[in-house]
Amino acid sequence: MDITFTKEDLAFRDEVRDFFATEYDSSVAGGLNLATISDGISYKEAIVTWQKKLYAKGWIAPSWPVEYGGAGWSITQKFIFETERGAAGIPAVIPFGLNMVAPVIYTFGNEEQKKRFLPRILSSDDWWCQGYSEPGAGSDLAALSTSADLVDGQYLVNGHKIWTSYAQYADWIFCLVRTSKETRKQQGISFLLIDMKTPGISVKPIVTIDGRHHLNEVMFEDVWVPLENLIGEQDKGWTYAKALLAHERTGMAEVADSKRAFSELKERAKHEVNGGRAMIDDPVFQMRMSDVETELMALEYTELRVLAAMAEGGTPGPESSLLKIKGTEITQSIQELQLQLAAYYGSGIPSDGQKDGYGHDFAEEARCGYLFGRAATIYGGSNEVQRNVIAKMVLGV
């Protein structure tokens, strides 16, 4: 059992820390604050600007195989990078291209697809979104019905995807589509890459309960997609998507981000006062804080255990569902405490000029974080479905 850091590890940590301190400047940071932006484009620009800096440094996709642009880091280095990223308050990269479609492309795609798509994903020149869920196929993803019929050597796609994050910015969408209606469910599904500029695609915003526009519906009406955009074999798409799901879930623990959020919570609890006493000195609020912090401290090591096992050659198993469940529950608990700190002030939605001095200073971030944060236990396979997965695959019941 060993999580000590070598001299090389410590040097790496300093390098990461320096890089973040130098490159993550306030222009980028301001644009990335979801709670305060009012203009979607500046958010996208900030993301791309930041991701291009990581790309230039060679750190944009550390987990990829080295041959495609990965960093070849040890588990310890990945842990250090994530820890420093969280501590610096830097958001994770947008996952749809880098962590979701890219592994499918480099694992199951052909050489031409790799050459065509991977470089532009690395450089953040293409923004990807995910076309999995449908109105009738949420946690029961295999019930999807968007069809792709092979007509004259091309796919004719018709259907309706939903809950698509940031489709409004996207250049490409990766979709699960039904290519065979003979068989049911998992069989007959294919994995298709679709250019968002193709005629017949329309994007309709979904405003969420935080009052913002993160999500979309994407409609396909007689959309022609070239055969070369099919990943692997037709009707085998479910296998490709599924291979990556456990991978996706391990990323959902979001320990580094929760640690950051928690330290912000502590800072705020020093300044919020009730009856003359800082909330951080309130024994009851302290218990609420340590209820969450101790769960987070445990999850940090649970994640390390999974990562260490993966480094020994294992692939993440259904245990990764634990990381998703606990990670999202902890994220939500921290958001709940942020909102509790904001108190009644958190209910008001003043415009910018009205915030200072009236208690709305941090309340909007707390409110929006809490409200949009409710989605964390719903998306990516709801926590109910994750519990089903563990019950079946781990407990064997």
Binding site: G276, V284, A343, G346, S347
Partner: protein, 384 residues
């Protein structure tokens, strides 16, 4: 022993329920919220005509002479429609303070106007630093040769942008944290020196931050006794809290019903998700939580009822316990309603999130669950 509504109360309930069902659907509400005023003056007039605005006021002022139970009845139904019109700030808070201030001239002037719908009121008490200890107050009223000058900044004044009259709490003696030394002043909303910064609340209601910069008022503007304003506020709290909690109870029943109905129609893995036992048991817990919250409102009603044998301590325990139970139940029910509705529950388009945000806001008004639990503990547990 019985918990049944009287015939009059049943009629009131019926009338409010029917009107809201017929005339206050979710689209109507959405249009009202997005309007400049954030409320409908037409509907307010109708509320007046239907007699709703007269419920808690004494017959001496043309009121219905209703009690806490009548307020609970109407508030539960307003909750079911998540009505955003300013019943709480104008009728319960502003009107309540008028009814309890002992100043018959002001009350006789303004209460009839509230009842007829021509007076909108607001109560400005909260400040940036006060959080839930509302006696933590910096706003000062300084005596002039004649009258007073008020200076300070108030946060989240409900109905602050639509109010014609504002009751403002200001310190007339003592230090920032003293519980006494606070007086209530009646000011016209268009008085010189008042700046009103309106905004919406997450529950769709309208509020404002208000700056008082050398606002001059006469000695007559003081409601009740000098320095004793907080005792008037304490007197109206039972009715205000019971009303808000009854509203929450109405909302919880809507959310639970909607969630159950949704699970019966939503299909997953080829069956309605209502057939999943894990969801069933959670919905049972939500059902029980709603029933427990309702029982607490009944308990508080009985504690503050006319024939109640409860001593003062038990009354306050029941009041705090009600707010605690409602906070606990509505957090669970609100979060579960969204979770079980899945993606749909996250959308602004569906009404679920709007009900939840009203529940959340009510929980934060006049102290959250933890705040009331501390107060409850203080009067319930001590070694001596």
């Amino acid at each position: 022993m019985n918990f049944q509504l009287s015939d009059e109360q049943a009629m009131l309930q019926n009338s409010v329920a029917r009107y809201i069902k017929d005339q206050y659907n979710f689209d109507t509400r959405r249009k009202i919220i997005s309007s400049q005023k954030g409320m409908s003056s037409e509907l307010w007039t109708i509320f007046s005509e239907l007699g709703w605005l007269s419920i808690p006021f004494s017959e001496d002022y043309g009121g219905y002479g209703g009690g806490n139970e009548d307020v609970a009845v109407i508030m539960e139904e307003l909750g079911k429609g998540i009505v955003v019109e300013p019943f709480v700030p104008t009728v319960l808070l502003f009107g309540g303070l008028l009814s309890h201030c002992g100043n018959n001239i002001v009350a006789a002037d303004l209460i009839p106007k509230i009842i007829e719908g021509s007076c909108q009121g607001a109560f400005a008490y909260l400040e940036r630093q006060s959080r839930f200890e509302i006696t933590d107050m910096k706003t000062k009223a300084t005596p002039l040769e004649k009258g007073w000058s008020i200076d300070g900044s108030k946060s989240i004044v409900l109905n602050g942008s639509n109010a014609t009259h504002i009751i403002v709490a200001a310190r007339t003696s003592g230090g920032q944290h003293d519980s006494s030394g606070i007086s209530l002043f009646m000011v016209d909303a268009d008085s010189q020196g008042i700046s009103i910064l309106p905004y919406g609340m997450m529950d769709g209601h309208k509020a404002a931050n208000i700056i008082f910069d050398g606002v001059n008022v006469s000695d007559d503007a003081i409601l009740g006794s000098l320095d004793e304003g907080m005792s008037i506020v304490e007197n109206i709290m039972p009715q205000v809290l019971i009303g808000l909690c009854a509203e929450s109870v109405g909302i919880m029943s809507v959310l639970n019903d909607a969630t159950i109905a949704y699970t019966k129609t939503r299909q997953q893995f080829g069956v309605p998700i209502s057939s999943f036992q894990a969801l069933q048991h959670r919905m049972v817990d939500n059902f029980m939580a709603a029933e427990q919250a309702r029982s607490m409102v009944y308990r508080a009603l009985c504690a503050f009822g006319d024939g109640s044998l409860e001593v003062e301590n038990e009354r306050m325990r029941s009041l705090h316990a009600m707010k605690i139970a409602v906070a606990r139940s509505s957090k669970m029910i609100g979060e579960e309603a969204i979770q079980i509705h899945g993606g749909m529950g996250m959308t602004d388009e569906l009404n679920i999130g709007h009900y939840v945000k009203r529940l959340m806001t009510i929980n934060l008004m006049f102290g959250d669950g933890d705040y009331h639990q501390r107060k409850f503990n203080q009067i319930s547990y001590c070694a001596a």
